[in-house]
């Protein structure tokens, strides 16, 4: 349980971090909390020669009111997202997902940027980020760019981030009127990761029908995804219990389910339907003015 030898680097500025990353290339890993990376290193499944700790970049830990959007710095710990008054008021789905991550220790050390960049297939944030249509701002020495959540997760542990890019912040829109969202998760009890987790966000029109639905699902396949079939089935419709049930059955449409010791592919598919239905029901209740 001792990692292979590595050199520990602790940059004080973003410029310095980007320089180190460019210098050491594929032999370096960024440390942004480390609750996924350090276990991998201790088991020697990962053996980076250089560990660039972003923990010194305090300027990347913030939750900021930015007009129509909320900006969350990449190094903001899950616990702060979970407890932020601003997030709980303006974008409670994100706080709800943060509260479901791992345990207290993980939430105190783990960061939003770290979780997104690692892209664990059972991580909680990706589902919420997808449902919220968040924007992920990243930077390299060449400049900045913004990646839409929908095109961020590419495959198992693989994202649209380029090797020399670092996540700067995540931007989410404020909830509008007549909207409701919920994150519901089936835990793998030992690890706390999601066997299935669905983040559902429903926006209603003045008549109370569904204007748009945004559904992010994690845990089922190698990467988190938007359940577009469910979104389409709900858009423009009156949201009856029967329709929610029917739409939920499409939660894993076109997705190749993972299978492991804890949950077979068939079980994951069945649970995708159940968990998505619960998330939709909860989101609808909240959109109609139930407890947020």
């Amino acid at each position: 349980m001792i990692p292979t030898e590595f050199e520990y680097l602790r940059p004080r500025s973003m410029e310095e971090a980007l320089g180190l990353l460019a210098q050491h290339g594929p032999e370096a890993k960024l440390l942004a909390g480390g609750h996924s990376l350090l276990p991998l290193m201790k088991l020697r499944l990962a053996a980076p020669k250089y560990l660039i700790d972003l923990g010194g970049l305090e300027q990347l830990s913030y939750v900021r009111d930015d007009g129509p959007e909320i900006a969350i710095g990449a190094m903001t710990p899950h616990a702060e997202v979970e407890s932020s008054e601003l997030i709980r008021r303006c974008c409670p789905l994100l706080a709800e997902a943060a509260a479901e991550i791992g345990d207290v220790q993980v939430r105190n050390r783990g960061t939003m940027g770290g979780s997104l960049a690692h892209a664990d297939p059972g991580a909680d944030y990706p589902a919420a980020i997808l449902a919220l249509e968040a924007k992920i701002k990243v930077r390299s020495r060449e400049g900045e760019r913004t990646i839409e959540a929908a095109s961020f997760f590419l495959d198992l542990l693989t994202t649209a981030l380029q090797p020399r890019e670092i996540i700067l912040e995540v931007r989410v829109a404020r909830d509008r009127e007549r909207s409701g969202a919920a994150y519901v998760k089936l835990h793998q009890p030992a690890s706390g990761f999601a066997i299935v987790g669905t983040a559902a966000r429903l926006m209603l029109d003045p008549k109370g029908n569904c204007e748009t639905a945004r559904i992010g699902v994690t845990g089922v396949g190698a990467k988190a995804y938007r359940a577009e079939a469910v979104e389409k089935a709900l858009a423009g419709k009156r949201l009856t219990a029967a329709l929610l049930a029917k739409a939920s059955a499409m939660a894993a449409e076109g997705v190749e389910p993972l299978s492991d010791l804890h949950a077979s592919a068939a079980y994951r598919l069945a649970m995708a339907e159940v968990i998505t239905k619960r998330a939709l029901e909860k989101a609808l209740d909240r959109a109609r003015g139930g407890r947020r």
């Binding site: 991998l40 499944l45 990962a46 542990l157």
Partner: protein
């Protein structure tokens, strides 16, 4: 762990068959392959350096061709070992002509042990699929060059 699937590559079965039986060409298709050498009749020794995002490791192993029906079918046995664990498995490859292309049907079952099996369980299947994808992408490039 079971793994099966199908992939269509733009070449005739004979060309695919010749690639599969040419260690030099095959080595260029295997993800992270550092070495692939013949070690007897129908046995190859390989060294792979596998990297999927944060997870990386070096593996040494062998591939044995147990049965071959040119140019349509071969049965393989693989063994591999690295610091994080070991893998053994058996599988078949079937080549089916589809016009100018070849449909490759693959299937097999592998036993994985060691740390990687105990801790990496959740990731194994996904990782295997990524590697299979990389293998076929590289194979398509090789075949395109040969054509």
């Amino acid at each position: 762990m079971k793994l099966e699937g199908m992939e269509t590559v733009p070449a005739a079965p004979a060309a695919v068959w010749s690639l599969l039986n040419n260690p030099e060409q095959l080595a260029r298709c295997l993800p992270g392959c550092e070495e692939l050498v013949a070690a007897g009749k129908d046995i190859y020794k390989a060294k792979l350096s596998v990297t999927i995002a944060a997870v990386s490791g070096k593996y040494a192993g062998s591939v044995e061709i147990r049965e071959r029906v040119e140019p349509s079918r071969m049965r393989l046995r693989i063994e591999g070992r690295g610091a994080p664990g070991f893998i053994t498995g058996e599988g078949t490859l079937e080549l089916v002509a589809k016009g100018n292309e070849t449909e490759i049907r693959y299937g097999g079952e592998a036993q994985v042990g060691g740390v990687i099996a105990a801790v990496g369980q959740r990731m194994l299947q996904g990782a295997a699929k990524i590697m299979v994808g990389q293998f076929f992408d590289a194979m398509k490039k090789q075949l395109a060059k040969g054509a």
